[in-house]
Amino acid sequence: MAHSNEKTTSDKQPDVQNKLNNDPKQSIYKELMWQGLWKNNPGVVQLLGLCPLLAVTNTATNALGLGIATTAVLVTSNTVISLLRHHIPATLRIPIFVMIIASLVTCVQLLMNAYTYEVYLSLGIFIPLIVTNCNIIGRAEAFASKNKITHSAFDGLMMGLGFSCVLMILGATREVLAQGTVFDGIQTLLGGWAAFLTVHIYHSETRFLLAALPPGAFIIMGIIIAIKNTIDEKIDTKR
């Protein structure tokens, strides 16, 4: 169980490695899930990919769009890199990873351009910039290049979901503070059926502009990290 593992495992990658080699199948997936969603969350623990995290989370819709795009790239890049891991020379691995990731990002970008044009416009430069998201190259280097395909793909999925969760919390909080809505314009991302997801919490003439600006993102991000650490501390003291 994840809880029993937690005490012995530090955040370091080698421990996960040992676990993967020794533990039975079931607990590997649980461990990967625990790592990606909470313990080693790319958004609030590793603090990777902060640039898009802070820049495009002004609405929950944008956050969800970027979250989906990043998750898709993470899963596919982890899969491809894990597939090719025996054929990639160690000295050339970084350029090769970047090329693989870049071609996948291009695919995602073209797909978004075709199917979710308005989200594509509002995310702007941050879709191509997924290439430089340290989180993706970090997973490729630290995990996918050393583990088998199924584990790598699952790790990519969990890391992507963890990242998306942080994006969504941040995006929703900022949107509520700045506009009083959640998921405003969601139909541009998911299609007309999703319009019911838009929630109007309050209406005000004056908007809290800071929340929509990058400094507000930094402050709210700090609060989210603080809350996460407090919960961890509470769990530790209980045990």
Binding site: T206, R207, F208, L209, L210, A211, L213, I219
Partner: protein, 349 residues
Amino acid sequence: MSFTNLSSPYQQIKRSTSQIMFIVILCLVPAIMLQSYFFGIGNLLQIILSVFTALVAEAAVLKLRNRPIINTLKDGSAILTAVLIAVSIPSLAPWWLVIIGALFAIIFVKQLFGGLGQNIFNPAMAAYVLLLISFPVPMTTWNPTNSLLPFPVDFIDQIKLVFTGVTTAGHTLDQLAINLDGLTLATPLNTVQNGLHAGYTLTEIAKSSRGINNSEFPISVINIAYLFGGCILLFKRLIHWHIPVAFLTSITLFSFISFVYDPEHISSPFFQLFTGATMIGAFFILSDPVTASTTPKGRFLYAILIAFFVVLIRNAGGYPDALAFAVLIGNMCVPLIDYYTKPPVYGSL
């Protein structure tokens, strides 16, 4: 004359933080009274709200941090911060504005950095910038002086305006802020800024707008009251003379240079000195011992730097008053200034 005390008496009375803060607040009183006299008692209401919020916020954070609550609250620093926020926002602004400002100043700018003495930025000015950036409209809707109000507004009306946004007769603040000529009455700096952006020259603005002439006088008087309060602080040696003197001199110098360069588009040094936040800044905000530079040379540099940015942002920037932005920039430079202006140890080569 002040000499460094090298002979007896060696033991001097040392003022506690709460005594210092109390005297500083007392020195603000004349200006606050004048502000109430000219613009109505809205500002007293804002001060009460602000102080109350600041004290509650400080107590809450101190409890979370397991620090002594009563002793820390007694030092009065939170009260001073709250008063400074309250006097710098429009006196009839909606109630939540000052509450957000006080909460941000105390929780984020002061306590999260470690409480009194640890904060990098001046809490009052950081809160002011937060409010100005987040709510530009209510932050720049200044009500006209009492004598110019298009409708009679009494004490009850002012309270109602702050809490509900309308007077008993149903007038909103926007209606109050427009005088009979249909001109919006802002602060003089604000009026000039808007006029210049619209492409007018200073003489045209002065001719066309009564607002600038009418609110220039009370605001200048309030500024003189701040100057008076500041002189008491200097006389009581609660603040060092370096910062106010260097700041006022260099602001005069810089604005004189820019005024001579383009007198039709840049306001005069007198205007710069007496119509904005210059005086309260010089004596009450820049001189904050926590966020200002601590070396004598550094204090000069710090004040000159802020004066430079005040003149620059006022004349070339988009916001009417620049003091808060300039102070934050100055605060950021303080560690560097202190590092390079460390006085040599006595006797060393």
